[in-house]
């Protein structure tokens, strides 16, 4: 859709009054857009300023006031010594946990999604449609319905409360989306290409490796970003299947905020919240285009 705003029939015969009205409308439009931008930015702004204030200043000052005296103390506390219950090591070990969960989880689910998507797109067999539908439905289940048996299964496998257990959970429930992403990308590659390669004697893996994989960079980026955001931001699995030393950062953040010991340190809470949000925010700022593509691909199926 182009130039809807400017093109108008009989543009030449417009009077000055109409033109002024148009300019006013334009100003109003920008004003409304700016107000919404402020509304979206406000929480981030408040988090940031609160995290740089001392508790005294928080108690006496206004919510949206800039810090009179900038202090980085809350950040240091959030990083290294805030209490998540009885332990007081800050967010640092939990950020590491989240990384240790996210990196293998993203790698595994992306790799499986790529090879599955390749099969569904290019090596269709009888029953493939049914399999794909079954996989797709798996994306939509509310995870509450698998929570109890998963806890038991992890126990049986000796993975209860461990990081490998969480990696397994995230990989299994990530496959549906990653397969969908890759399948939808690979169906756009002409089948003649595969046929020609087969005639030349190339097999299943060779075609994947030397034809499909080199073409896959954009969809790999989309999938990695999608999965990383999902796993990093996960709370339900983290809180259900972790224990004291293996909690991901979202769980630790929630514990810091809701820990009842001592004085409520709002500035530390806010610093911790920003720390927990930083990796995904960074990904969003650096690769927003791919982030949005993943979001829309994940919602507009097929």
């Amino acid at each position: 859709m182009t130039d809807l705003a400017y093109v108008s029939p009989r543009a030449g015969s417009r009077s000055t009054g109409q033109r002024l009205g148009r300019i006013a409308l334009r100003w109003l439009l920008y004003l409304v857009l700016t107000l919404f931008a402020l509304w979206f930015l406000m929480p981030l702004f408040v988090m940031l300023t609160t995290s740089l204030k001392s508790l005294d200043e928080i108690r006496t000052g206004s919510l949206i006031a800039l810090p009179r005296e900038v202090t980085f103390e809350p950040w240091l506390t959030a990083w290294g010594s805030a209490c998540t219950g009885i332990q007081c090591e800050g967010l640092k070990p939990y950020l590491l946990n989240s990384l240790l969960i996210a990196i293998p989880g993203v790698a595994l689910s992306t790799a499986l999604g790529a090879i599955n998507g390749y099969v569904f797109a290019q090596w269709r067999f009888r029953g493939a449609n049914l399999l794909f539908s079954l996989l797709l439905f798996g994306c939509f289940i509310p995870f509450q319905v698998v929570l109890l048996p998963m806890a038991r299964m992890l126990g049986l496998m000796g993975l209860a409360g461990t990081i490998p257990g969480l990696i397994l959970v995230h990989t299994v429930y990530g496959i549906g989306f990653t397969t969908l992403f890759f399948r939808n990308y690979y169906v756009t590659i002409p089948q003649e290409l595969v046929r020609a390669a087969k005639i030349d004697g190339a097999g299943f893996f060779r075609i994947f490796w030397s034809i499909f994989l080199p073409l896959s960079l954009p969809i790999v980026v989309v999938t990695v970003i999608w999965q990383f955001t999902q796993i990093w931001n996960d709370f339900l699995f983290g809180v259900s299947f972790s224990q004291a030393g293996t909690q991901p950062v979202t769980v630790a953040l929630n514990n810091i905020v809701n820990s009842t010991t001592g004085v409520k340190a709002y500035n530390v809470d806010m610093a911790a919240a920003i720390l927990a949000a930083l990796p995904t925010l960074l990904v969003y700022v650096v690769a927003g285009k791919y982030f949005i593509r993943g979001l829309t691909a994940g919602s507009v199926k097929g």
């Binding site: 931008a37 609160t50 079954l134 429930y173 299943f204 339900l236």
Partner: protein, 290 residues
């Protein structure tokens, strides 16, 4: 033999994922369904007991609250996010010079964890030092805004934070939809002198029906699964005034040790999700095969 093996390679490659899905999705759903039909308490029991757990569930006031809250939250969250998303998309579609930057600002909440969103809004909405205190500090001494601690209003704070997080995403969906409308039709309408707003209401928006549908599905899905946001923002409180089915299920499973109730509430959640998603997926898959 090797020839046969070669033709089976694609299936063999799929096998691990398929087995995993079969066990971890369908097997697990089966397990939960079965347990929801037993008298399981702290430990699962496998002797069939009929629909007693469901009867108990629907006679529990706390579940009643959770379902009512899901209704309030779901309807408002979906309606406001869609309305706001559409409005923002249309506003941004007017040849805005800094469109990219504005889009980035509107959409960034979607990159945040619900726990972060909840933490931020919990701080902003806390009556003692947050918005309420700020407005009072401006001289409006009687100003009250204590939804967060008011059992009747707390659920609306969840709507507020949820909309804040999702509106930009809906905007992105609608914007993509607006841009994919056939430009020729719009040009023709402009040549005919049809007013700007009529072009939207009569041509563009009606042709975006599929986008509305997918936005609705995604939002409904988000609403039913909402768990983190409630935990971080209100913890289900005050009391259990902001409980949702997801938090009810979690409480039964992990703090009350009532597996039967946890399983039956999870099954009800799944039924609600499937009632919305299955017809949609079915039509999508069929449309693709035709």
């Amino acid at each position: 033999m090797t020839k046969w093996l070669e033709t089976q390679v694609p299936k063999l490659v799929l096998a691990p994922s398929f087995v995993a899905i079969l066990v971890f999705v369908y097997g697990f759903i089966g397990w939960t369904a079965w347990v929801s039909l037993t008298r399981s308490k702290l430990m699962p029991r496998y002797d069939f007991d009929g629909f007693g757990q469901y009867a108990k569930l629907f006679s529990t006031p706390r579940w009643d609250t959770a379902i009512t809250n899901l209704g309030i939250y779901g309807v408002l969250f979906i309606a406001i996010s869609m309305a706001l998303g559409l409005l923002l998309a249309i506003l941004l579609d007017q040849q805005i010079r800094v469109e990219g930057a504005i889009r980035t600002i509107y959409l960034y909440p979607m990159a945040l964890s619900m726990i972060v969103t909840g933490t931020a809004w919990k701080w902003i909405l806390n009556p003692g030092l947050g918005l309420e205190a700020m407005v009072r500090g401006w001289g409006f001494e009687d100003f009250t805004f204590n939804w967060l601690v008011d059992p009747n209003m707390a659920i609306y704070t969840i709507v507020l934070a949820g909309v804040w997080q999702a509106a930009g995403f809906v905007m992105a969906l609608f914007l993509a939809g607006l841009r994919s409308v056939d430009g020729e039709i719009i040009k023709a309408a402009q040549v005919d002198g049809i007013p700007h707003w009529r072009i939207y209401t009569a041509i563009i928006i009606p042709s975006m029906a599929p986008v509305f549908l997918s936005a609705f599905i995604v939002l409904a899905h988000l609403a039913i699964k909402s768990f983190d946001l409630v935990i971080a923002l209100t913890g289900g409180g005050p009391g259990y005034a902001t409980d949702l089915p997801a938090t009810y299920m979690y409480a039964m499973a992990f703090s009350r040790g009532n597996l039967g109730q946890a399983a039956s509430s999870a099954m009800v959640m799944m039924a609600v999700v499937f009632a919305i998603v299955v017809p949609y997926l079915y039509s999508e898959l069929r449309a693709k095969n035709d």
